[in-house]
Amino acid sequence: MRFPSLTALPDRMIRDRELLDQLIDPTARQRLPRDSRAFVRVDMSLRNYWHTLFDVCPDLLDMADPAGEQIFDGFMAWAAEQHLSMGWHFYLWVGRWLAQSPFQHQLTDALQEQLMAAAAARWAVLDRSPQVGVVLGRAASTGWVVGWKPNSLLAGRRVERIEVDSGLPSPEADLGLFYTNSFELDTFPGWQVLPK
């Protein structure tokens, strides 16, 4: 069955391009008529962000309301203000937002490392640069989280946590990162700041 009667908007045609500003904005759900394809289109887009966050880090759902709206809507609004690119590192920015939010006291070391692992895994799957690994470090920890792109047909991406005890500096900020062009972690080029 075909549903041409369900209009994109009740009063006029609307193209996807006109919705681009709203695809990442939770408040758009209130502005668009529920009985429209435009509403469904925006809802689908937002659900992708929601699932990308909470499916990978379900512990976040224990921090606030069960639907995660307090965290999701709060972070997305802040992300818009900060002009975040929502790249692979967006999990790390969620951690930064939590650290200055009403949920700051629930942000444990374990949750911080979950967010770091999620970011490293996303980089390993989505980054298309020639670099093969990303290393994430935290000022408050000697543990590094490393994400590796697949280098074998069967292996898939890998994320590992390693302890570093060789006098290497911690990042100056709360988090730092560097990339590697080799599948051997044999050089330390210094920490880079978190990209936006």
């Binding site: 994109a8 609307i14 193209r15 996807d16 391009r17 990442i24 289109r41 689908m44 990308t52």
Partner: protein, 271 residues
């Protein structure tokens, strides 16, 4: 018609190898940019059947030239060594004002034509091969312009269309162009996709491309109705499954495709 299966994840390697070994598929479509750090020789040895390349994240319409040059340099050795049946990519927005879209945006087929035309020419030149670009499973309006867009793009750039019939069915169910409007595109295309669709969470009157289960009846009807336009020498049809990847279910759909494209006896072949 050569029937293939999309290979996206390393963990499904044994299943895809089994499908090829048992003759359920004639070729494997590699989501090649997932494997750019796997040694080329390992990829070449992985399957005993030909391969096609599907690119997901080149973002060739919107990235800068240097980024595209670098990506092409990574991809070219795979093309040169594996000699794929085709190389394909996506016509869509991946970002908006610098922000990543987690559900890709549909281009404006009128306003964006020149930009896409220019980038296709650049991308084909860098890779040294024809690019086949996929149509979008439209949800809102504007997709009536899509068939003519792809016809113009093929004529102006020499690219091909990777015609995803189930994407076109999604668009049609959402008020877009009929399959009939795509006749000229189907006639010119040599490479095709098909998969399942589902309903949107917020409203089951909206159809979304899902790749998560068995093909729908109207998708199969579309394949039968336009078989004459699609089935031609060198043609490929890739069955896509990204969720619920279970051997029996995948095989069930592949056998339906085999049935649709079974050889029709001609007078010359009859005893």
């Amino acid at each position: 018609m050569q029937i293939g299966f999309n290979f996206t994840l390393g963990e499904t390697t044994p299943m895809v190898q089994q499908l090829a070994r048992e003759g359920a598929i004639d070729y494997v479509e590699l989501l090649i940019d997932n494997f750019l750090h796997v040694p080329v020789a390992e990829m070449a040895a992985a399957f005993d059947v030909p391969v096609g390349f599907h690119i997901m994240f080149s973002r060739f319409i919107e990235v800068d030239d240097a980024t595209l040059d670098t990506f092409a340099a990574q991809l070219k050795p795979f093309i040169d060594t594996l000699q794929p049946l085709y190389v394909s990519d996506h016509i869509a927005y991946f970002t908006h004002q610098g922000r990543a879209l987690f559900h890709l945006g549909e281009i404006d087929y009128q306003a964006d034509f020149e930009r896409v035309r220019e980038r296709i020419l650049k991308w084909q030149a860098l890779l040294g091969c024809q690019m086949h670009v996929e149509n979008y499973p439209s949800i809102v309006d504007g997709s009536d312009d899509a068939p003519m867009f792809f016809e113009r793009l093929m004529a102006d750039t020499g690219c091909g269309t990777l015609f995803d019939l189930s994407n076109a069915v999604c668009a049609w169910r959402n008020g877009g162009p009929s399959l009939h409007a795509w006749r000229e595109v189907m006639k010119q295309a040599r490479h095709f996709h098909v998969s399942s669709y589902n309903t949107a969470f917020a409203d089951d009157r909206v159809t979304v491309d899902s790749h998560d289960g068995l093909m729908a009846a109207d998708t199969l009807a579309g394949l039968r109705a336009y078989r004459d336009l699609m089935d031609k020498p060198g043609a490929t049809l890739t069955y896509e499954r990204d969720e619920n990847i279970h051997y029996d279910s995948v095989l069930e759909d592949l056998l339906k495709l085999r049935e649709i494209y079974a050889e029709v006896p001609t007078c010359a072949s009859l005893p």
